[in-house]
């Protein structure tokens, strides 16, 4: 079973890595991360803060774009090109197919993130910033966020078209970063129905800001280890839930 998942994961990774769009986005991520050096010249005071801010934001943005674009296309393309029939006609279950796809995408994201992170580290070192362990932690948290995004895009990709998947995933990504407003919004609502609905959505939708530790990294403020631990557990739980529902949907899909 493990070998089958591994084979699908490796194939997914190779397929993603062969995509020219992937290289283009990684290139732009690196390019904008390096451009942060230029932006830092424009500020007064702590230029390193601006360099880290803009560099990390560029890497974050392009990694998210890669995650969404590769995620939304993967399953759809397999169905569209009918390659899914070849795979599923072999002794490979639909569950293994989804898990393999997810792991392959995770590997793709890890590669893209590692490439950008190495360049960014070199830039920080060259700018006299020194080695900062918190940045590694930041990349780890970003990787968790990417895994959640990949799981979301895979989920939508399992039952709808790439365009709709794109709209839904981007919407969830944006909402995921303003989940803190739900609690405030709930306070001003009077009707219990809307109140409970808001509360329900607050718990149901992904809170991606849990993985956003840019403030703590850039401003060098204290990080609570418990918050990190809970964020990791949250990511694992959310990914597992999404993969489970994706598998359930994919099992019921008729490819005729």
């Amino acid at each position: 079973m493990k070998m089958k998942i591994k084979a699908i994961a490796v194939n997914t990774f190779k397929e993603s890595a062969r995509n020219k769009m992937f290289y283009l986005l990684v290139f732009f991520g690196i390019f904008f991360a390096l451009s942060s050096k230029l932006i830092s010249f424009l500020t007064l005071g702590d230029a390193m803060k601006v360099l880290k801010d803009t560099g990390l934001a560029a890497i974050n943005f392009f990694c998210i774009v890669i995650a969404i674009f590769t995620g939304i296309n993967l399953i759809y393309k397999e169905i569209e090109k009918k390659t899914v029939f070849n795979i599923l006609s072999k002794p490979v279950s639909r569950d293994q197919f989804i898990i393999g796809k997810f792991l392959g995408l995770a590997l793709t994201m890890l590669t893209a993130l590692a490439a950008m992170a190495v360049i960014f580290f070199l830039l920080v070192l060259a700018s006299g910033g020194g080695f900062d362990l918190k940045i590694i932690l930041y990349f780890f948290m970003l990787f968790l966020e990417l895994l959640v995004i990949v799981a979301i895009s895979l989920f939508f990709s399992s039952f709808t078209t790439p365009i709709l998947s794109f709209i839904f995933t981007v919407s969830l990504y944006l909402i995921g970063h303003i989940m803190w407003t739900f609690n405030e919004f709930k306070m001003i609502l009077r009707d219990p129905f809307w109140k409970y609905l808001t509360q329900g959505l607050y718990y149901l939708l992904p809170n991606l800001d849990k993985f956003n530790i840019k403030n703590e990294v850039v401003l060098n403020t204290a990080l609570n280890p418990w918050t990190i631990l809970f964020s990791v557990l949250y990511a694992l739980a959310y990914i597992l839930a999404l993969l489970a529902v994706t598998i359930l949907i994919f099992r019921k899909r008729d490819f005729q």
């Binding site: 007064l44 803060k49 934001a57 944006l174 303003i178 840019k214 403030n215």
Partner: protein, 281 residues
């Protein structure tokens, strides 16, 4: 089929026409005349929501823009929304220290609005309770521009209580107390600094201040008593001991270094060995 030369001519003509229009458009437009430049700036909270997790980047960009904008000196109306701009930046990332410092500098030295700068620095101090330099800067502006020594003392006192406050804050605080006409309290504060000094620079500085305050008090007392003597005997005392024998003084005061004050019996004047003009109000 359209000839290639015609296409090239159309291309060049189009380019020239576009450049001409662009020039005409720009010459009729004063980009900075529009007072509504800032109207579209959302509040800090709205911008935090709209930045979708990139609030640091939004704060950076707004801060960098503000530096360029407020350096554009020919814009006469540039200070209209100064407080709003820096409030927005500091609302997005309250821990970002530079905007408080640079913003208050612009408010003080460019806009000449000290209360506005104090409001910004107060916000910085409130949202970053462990940082001392917001209160230090506020204290300096009160001292330098408002000449409000009591307020300066309040800020320096608050700054001195912060965990990593450097020792010079306590010295500034004591000096503000002195300038605020409370020499007894100032003396006590300087004495504490003197007794706990960690280096000779600090000790010497405290010594000079203690010397000044003590001399000021002692000389005022001595001058008063010499005056009483003069009114009674229509002459200056020959020595200061005469004041003691007449019980006009309980004891002869000495300066902080332990030396006697210098008395001139011919003119009835009394001075200390060292008087520091730079410490006079």
């Amino acid at each position: 089929m359209i000839p290639g030369r015609l296409l090239a001519a159309v291309f060049l003509a189009g380019l020239l026409l576009a450049a001409g229009m662009q020039n005409r458009y720009d010459s009729n437009l004063d980009y900075f005349a529009d007072r509504g430049t800032f109207v579209s700036l959302p509040s800090g909270k709205a911008l935090k929501v709209l930045s979708f997790g990139y609030s640091n980047l939004a704060a950076d960009l707004l801060f960098i823009w503000s530096i360029q904008f407020y350096s554009t000196t020919y814009l006469t109306n540039r200070f209209d929304f100064l407080e709003r701009v820096y409030d927005t930046i500091t609302d997005i990332t309250p821990q970002y220290k530079e905007p408080y410092i640079i913003g208050s500098l612009i408010m003080v030295y460019e806009a000449r609005d000290i209360p506005m700068a104090l409001r910004l620095l107060d916000k910085g101090s409130r949202l970053n309770p462990d940082e001392w330099f917001f209160d230090h800067d506020a204290g300096y502006y009160c001292y330098k521009f408002l000449k409000d020594f009591a307020k300066a003392e309040f800020y320096y006192n608050r700054a001195a209580a912060k965990p990593d406050a450097p020792p010079f804050i306590k010295r500034l605080n004591a000096h503000m107390v002195y300038l605020g006409d409370d020499p007894t309290m100032a003396y006590q504060m300087w004495l504490e600094i003197f007794n706990n000094a960690r280096d000779t620079l600090e000790k010497d500085g405290a010594f000079n201040h203690l010397y000044q305050i003590k001399a000021e008090n002692d000389l005022a007392l001595l001058k008063e008593r010499i005056g009483i003597f003069r009114r009674q005997f229509r002459r200056w005392p020959a020595t200061l001991n005469e004041l003691l024998s007449l019980r006009l003084l309980a004891a002869l005061p000495t300066d902080f270094a332990g030396n006697e004050y210098i008395y001139n019996p011919e003119q009835g004047t009394i001075t200390a060995e060292r008087v520091f003009k730079w410490k006079q109000r």
